[in-house]
């Protein structure tokens, strides 16, 4: 109910990605610090957030699908989650944590 990240990652679950679909060899290497290009690039392996941040979001009742990631390559950071949590009405924010599903 709270994760949308998988859709972007289907490719790394496919064991054999045909080599022809690969971009030119030095494409990625030529733009080391340039995240904008990566948005159009093939799916990244980077999760949309790290596990402890996902857990924090869960504990705070924040739906990650609705959070805009400001980190590297769209990563949802702890600050993004905290901002989303404090942006909501307090009654929701104090919602007791419950079991996963």
């Amino acid at each position: 109910k709270r994760r949308a990240r998988r859709t972007a990652l289907a490719a790394d679950l496919v064991p054999a990605l045909p080599a022809e679909t690969a971009p030119p060899v030095d494409d990625a290497a030529s733009a080391p610090g340039a995240p904008p290009v990566a948005a159009a690039a093939p799916p990244s392996e980077r999760p949309r957030s790290t596990p402890p941040v996902r857990k924090l979001a869960h504990d705070l009742g924040v739906d990650l699908a609705a959070v805009h990631g400001t980190g590297e390559r769209g990563l949802i950071t702890r600050a993004d989650v905290e901002a989303a949590a404090s942006a909501r009405p307090t009654s929701e924010a104090t919602m007791a944590p419950e079991s996963t599903e």
Binding site: L13, E45, P47, T50, P51, R54, S99
Partner: protein, 457 residues
């Protein structure tokens, strides 16, 4: 009759009670901690610590026996029980001293004596009334027996087993759970013949079935005998031993019978029911936030139904103190608490077994992979075998890790983070584990579930 007042009164100074006390004073509460015996409770004096000392002595003995395999010339001559006792007691007394010092340094008032709950906010200890705005019950557990099976003489529980001043020639063990298999492992390493009797179809029946089966295979190889899926009927004692009769008519003769069929709550006659605390078969019922039905009264540790483990006691003690302080701590379900069985080979697990995960998430929604330690360099170096099984939700998190093999217990720390943080195998895959470690076996299982096995097909 005198009265003492505290913010929080805690009944029982074992793992659950003393952790609650330590956290409560950190949060600014005054605490009265009532203990009738010794701070540290079962775990320190009669449980975790002494058994693990025996298991390490057992490891040393096995290493001496097996030394030739590694090119080391050494001769195993036997067990010096007095030496083992000195080693074991040395650890306990040093930890005990440390704990007493810590409790004192943190400013916790310890009240020595047997307490009885006499009101929702008061515990009676002798002629003192100890009053608290909140009360935490933490009276722990004792070794249970079966109906009609009396403890005494050559029929013993773990308490007496720890005090033995000899290595028995032959022991029968009733119960193939954690405590049963740990003592079986120690005694076998010390030179005894051992037979385990377990009514359920497997040893360590709460574990993933493939793990139980591997333990059975390993025990068979070690010459530890067991009878599974057969119930105990009766035992008779004679001058030199016991004769245990099983429901299928078989008998087992031994010098001693260790009864290790579980632990019951220490709650009888302590006033809980008179004060109106809801109970079930002696256990204190709480909600998931550890509150009993009586406002202001909490319960932690082995008296609360569920896993009976020292670190669950620590966790619940800390939780109760934080809950009283209004910190709204997060609930950790029992299934997400790590479990280790320290026999040889060790077993460690956290999260759902594959079968349970299937029930919870749908059988077609989970996948698993079991990595054989035969592929793991460090395990080969240790000459141990076993496996690591990881269960995930498809396109979802890791929900179970189940391990068996020499020294795998310490690997549970990583698994604990993965499962509790609901990590996906793909989250871990980029981090190659240090080589050569047993960590790597866990890493290989994650890699495989992420669709990119390294040293596996």
């Amino acid at each position: 009759m005198s009265e003492q007042n505290f913010d929080i009164v805690i009944l029982g100074g074992g793992s659950g009670g003393y952790a609650a006390a330590l956290r409560a004073v950190q949060l600014g509460f005054t605490v009265g901690l009532i203990e009738k015996d010794k701070l540290g409770g079962t775990c320190l004096h009669r449980g975790c610590i002494p058994t693990k000392a025996l298991l390490h002595a057992a490891e040393i003995a096995e290493h001496a026996r097996d030394s030739a395999k590694f090119g080391v010339r050494a001769t195993f001559e036997g067990i010096d029980v007095a030496g083992v006792t000195a080693y074991r007691e040395g650890i306990i007394s040093s930890k005990f001293k440390g704990l007493q010092g810590l409790i004192k340094a943190r400013g916790i008032t310890v009240i020595e004596g047997e307490g009885r709950l006499v009101a929702p906010n008061a515990v009676q200890v002798g002629d003192q009334r100890i009053v608290g705005k909140n009360v935490i019950l933490a009276t722990g557990s004792y070794s249970r027996s079966l109906p009609g099976l009396e403890i005494g003489g050559r029929v013993i529980t773990s308490e007496q087993a720890l005090e033995l001043d000899f290595v028995p020639g032959k022991v029968a063990i009733l119960g193939g759970g954690v405590i049963g298999v740990e003592f079986a492992s120690v005694w076998k390493s010390f030179g005894a013949e051992v037979t385990i009797i377990e009514a359920l179809p497997h040893l360590v029946p709460n574990e993933e079935e493939s793990i139980s089966k591997q333990l059975e295979r390993a025990f068979r190889k070690r010459g530890i005998d067991y009878k599974i899926g057969v119930r105990f009927q009766s035992v008779t004692q004679h001058e030199n031993g016991v004769v245990v009769t099983l429901e299928n008519g078989e008998t087992v003769e031994a010098e001693l019978l260790l009864v290790a069929v579980g632990r019951g709550p220490v709650t009888a006659g302590l006033g809980y029911d008179e004060v109106g605390v809801a109970m079930d078969r002696g256990f204190v019922l709480t909600d998931e936030r550890l509150a009993t039905n009586v406002p202001g009264v909490y319960a932690v540790g082995d008296i609360v139904p569920g896993l009976q483990l020292a670190h669950r006691g620590f966790q619940q003690g800390i939780f109760a103190a934080e809950e009283i302080a209004g910190l709204n701590p997060i609930v950790i379900e029992d299934v997400n608490i790590p479990k280790i069985t320290y026999c040889e080979p060790e077993i460690a697990s956290i999260g759902y077994t594959e079968a349970k995960a299937g029930e919870k998430f749908g059988a077609d929604q989970v996948s698993s992979y079991e990595y054989n330690l035969a592929g793991n360099g460090k395990s080969h170096i240790l000459e141990t075998s076993g496996s690591i099984k990881v269960v995930r939700v498809n396109d979802g998190p890791i929900v179970g890790v189940h391990m068996i093999g020499g020294r795998v217990g310490e690997l549970i720390g990583e698994a604990q983070l993965a499962v509790n943080w609901e990590a996906y195998p793909e989250d871990i895959a980029p981090f190659l584990h240090a080589h050569p470690t047993q960590n790597e076996a866990l890493g290989e299982a994650f890699l495989k579930l992420a669709g990119k096995p390294l040293h596996a097909l």
